[in-house]
Amino acid sequence: MMLARVADSLYWIGRYIERAEHVSRLSAVMLNATLDSTQGAVQTGRIGLAALGEPDSGRANQTYEAAHDLALDRTDSGSVVVSLARARENARQVRDQISTETWERLNLLYLRTTGVGVETAFDDDPPGFLNEIIADLHLFKGAADTTLSHGEGWRFLLLGVHIERAQLIARLLEVCFSTGKTPAVSEPIALMSVLRMACALEPYLRVYTADINPRYILEFLLFDEDFPRSIRFCTARLQDLLSQLVRDAGASRSDALRLAGRLDARLKYADIEEVEATGAGALLAAVAAECASIHEAIYETFVAYPLELSLPA
């Protein structure tokens, strides 16, 4: 049992930290790619920007400026600094529910990305700056894992992380692999960048060896059961978490759980040949739409439920 508002805040902390990590990683990969002046570098820049919602790739060869704004622009609601500020604002609202260790990691990150020296720190070493944010977010997740009770609040936090992650990876794959018969990305360097953007290069190599091709990448990031950034992994977690949460709440049924189960089954029993035959676009679009519906349903089940149904007789 926890306050509905608290559950909502924990869920959003999960979403915002996942978003901050993803944007940081995409920016860092773009910056690293542009150190080479190859066709792959241009493709990488275009993918990164498109995956973050800037489809006009006018800035694909101005990666430094783009990365700077993605990291530090306070007027851009998708930037790293805004996501961290919102995560921290939510954490402040539920400060009584999270451990000191967890709070301090997040607060430190916030203070560092909003402090006076932040512009200089970014200019000195932009990829280094971004990688440090990613490392700090890992510390946050580690602190949360080892110091929070793995109860209801923890599940709402993870629910936010995994729903956000599923949407972000779906968007990345959509940008790369859903357009027509010829994939937008073919260049080997760019393909490796895609894997890096999902933090998946090394795990991928272990499964497929250094045979880097779009089909395997799609298969790995859609269907791998064990890799934490595959969509299948996320939907399985969503289903687990929701079935526990629905049980905790003593609810008999929930649309959120039904939708999550259906999405998970769809990914579980799909296979890559079928996806290739019809094009990945349809499946990826369905993942995005289903995640949005699950989000709505979570809200209706746990936070904004109608009062008439729950008043004591």
Partner: protein, 498 residues
């Protein structure tokens, strides 16, 4: 070391406080560390030795560590700019303020006596009003006070405990005697700073802390919880919640801190649902009954149906649930009438009336401008007095005679004559000073003392306090809204000596 180490005034610089460029020279105020003549008071010796051995650089380093730890913990207030928000910590001083056991014993007894009498007064005021019938306190002064709540008349309050959490402001006058400057029975804050300061001072001076035999304050949250639970004695395991105005309130850190350490949900008005004169909170598994609300929202804002209509901080219908006896609010609405600045002057009489005892802790001499004879004295002596509006707080509506210009005094005199009932006056008191680290030097700064007293089934005084510091040299204003800071307060056990 010897307990009668005497230091000539000129030698203070070299031997005792190597950090000061100008010697640490207390003025005519009582100094907590240095006795007149220059000797270090015995209970400060251990600390003073340690300060001298650490040196300026190390002390500066420790001060920075302390500030950084406050920033990390989020013990901050936010300054909002045009397109950014900056976090500032509440200024905190490194050196604890030390109070020996026998002095504390008197404070403890005095505060216990005072709160018992004030609760008896509230029970009487909201009951049969015997004290008004007997003419001990003027009727119109109580019933006309803005903090008097007619809605509270004849409501049952368990144990007669209207003020469950009290934070009284004590000062030490020039003679070294602790006196009460103000009672605070509404929503006193600062206890989280007491606890955070303790955590910090223990890390800054671990050795001195261990040797000094300091009494612990860490039990405050569980004693608070027990006090709150004792207010719902009809329930075997009452659901306690902390009600906060929200994250933008300047004391939000404290609300979250206490909720976390009590294990009680921190709720906002929008989390509460009233049904059938009962209070519920909206949880992930439906509505849950609430029994006790430790509310950190002012009376005026608790319930727009009963009090201020424009409030969005409380919950509509809360007072009806309270009136029906289905929920307890702590402190009780209307408790503030007993800390009214004009009622304050009568507290010694109130203690005598209910307990048949003389006040253990004195009041500051107070002139009630409503009395013609006292008004004429006040008007004739404005340059030596502090005049305060009865209904105001936080340093507003106040004249500090010695610091005001002749014109300001004249204007204030007119206001006084126009509405004498609204004012009281007190002599200017030099608060005692304690050593503080200011810009790398140790200097005396004026301090007050805010201990916290809990009252439910029984009265408990926490053996510690928030010492508030006026950070500007010579300033007597310790309010955090006016640039005040704070420091830890060590209350020693009998054998203790720091």
């Amino acid at each position: 070391m010897s307990s009668n180490k005497v230091v000539a005034k000129d030698a203070i610089l070299e031997d005792v406080l190597p950090l000061t460029q100008a010697a640490y020279l207390p003025g005519r105020a009582y100094d907590e560390m240095i006795a007149p003549g220059g000797a270090v008071r015995p209970h400060y010796e251990l600390l003073q030795d340690r300060i001298a051995s650490l040196g300026a650089e190390e002390l500066g380093e420790r001060q920075r560590t302390l500030e950084r730890s406050f920033l990390l913990q989020g013990i901050t207030f936010t300054v909002y700019g045009a397109d950014s928000a900056t976090e500032r910590i509440i200024p905190t001083d490194l050196f604890p303020r030390i109070i020996p056991a026998q002095e504390w014993a008197k404070i403890e007894a005095g505060l216990t006596q005072r709160l018992m009498a004030l609760n008896a007064f509230l029970a009487d005021i909201y009951g049969d009003q015997k004290i008004l019938m007997d003419g001990v306190v003027p009727r119109e002064l109580v019933l006309g006070a803005p903090s008097y709540r007619r809605d509270m008349q004849h409501l049952y309050v368990p144990h007669g405990a209207y003020a469950n959490v009290c934070g009284s402001d004590l000062i030490r006058n020039e003679a070294g005697e602790f006196v009460v400057l103000e009672d605070n029975l509404r929503v006193p804050s600062g206890v989280s700073y007491m606890l955070a300061n303790r955590d910090a001072s223990r890390r800054t001076f671990p050795g001195v802390f261990r040797q000094a035999n300091v009494r612990p304050v860490e039990r405050y949250p569980d004693l608070l919880l027990a006090t709150l639970k004792s207010m719902a004695d009809w329930r075997s395991d009452p659901q306690v919640v902390v009600l906060t105005p929200g994250v933008y309130n300047s004391a939000y850190y404290e609300h979250a801190y206490l909720a976390r350490l009590m294990g009680a949900p921190l709720v906002e008005g929008r989390d509460l649902v009233m049904h059938d004169n009962r209070v519920f909170m909206r949880t992930t598994s439906g509505l849950r009954r609430v029994d006790v609300i430790y509310r950190r929202v002012d009376d005026d804002f608790i319930d727009p149906l009963t009090f201020r209509r424009d409030s969005s901080l409380g919950a509509a219908g809360l007072f009806n649930a309270y009136r029906a006896g289905n929920v307890v609010m702590c402190n009780a609405p209307g408790a503030g009438v007993a800390d009214d600045k004009a009622v304050y002057a009568y507290v010694p009489d109130i203690i005598r009336y209910y307990l048949g005892e003389e006040a253990i802790l004195s009041n500051v001499e107070t002139f009630l401008c409503r009395e013609p004879s006292q008004l004429s004295y006040v008007l004739a002596n404005l340059e030596n007095l502090v005049v305060k509006a009865v209904g105001a707080s936080g340093g507003y509506g106040m004249l500090v005679g010695p610091h005001a210009s002749a014109g300001e005094r004249e204007a204030f005199a007119e206001a006084l004559k126009a509405d004498p009932e609204n004012y009281i006056a007190q002599p200017v008191i030099q608060l005692s000073t304690a050593p503080c680290l200011v810009d790398g030097r140790i200097e005396p700064r004026h301090v007050d003392l805010r201990p916290f007293i809990l009252s439910g089934e029984k009265v408990v005084v926490t053996p510690g306090a928030l010492t508030r510091v006026a950070l500007r040299r010579g300033s007597l204003v310790v309010n955090s809204s006016q640039g005040g800071g704070s420091k830890d307060t060590w209350v020693l056990t009998e054998e203790g000596k720091a």
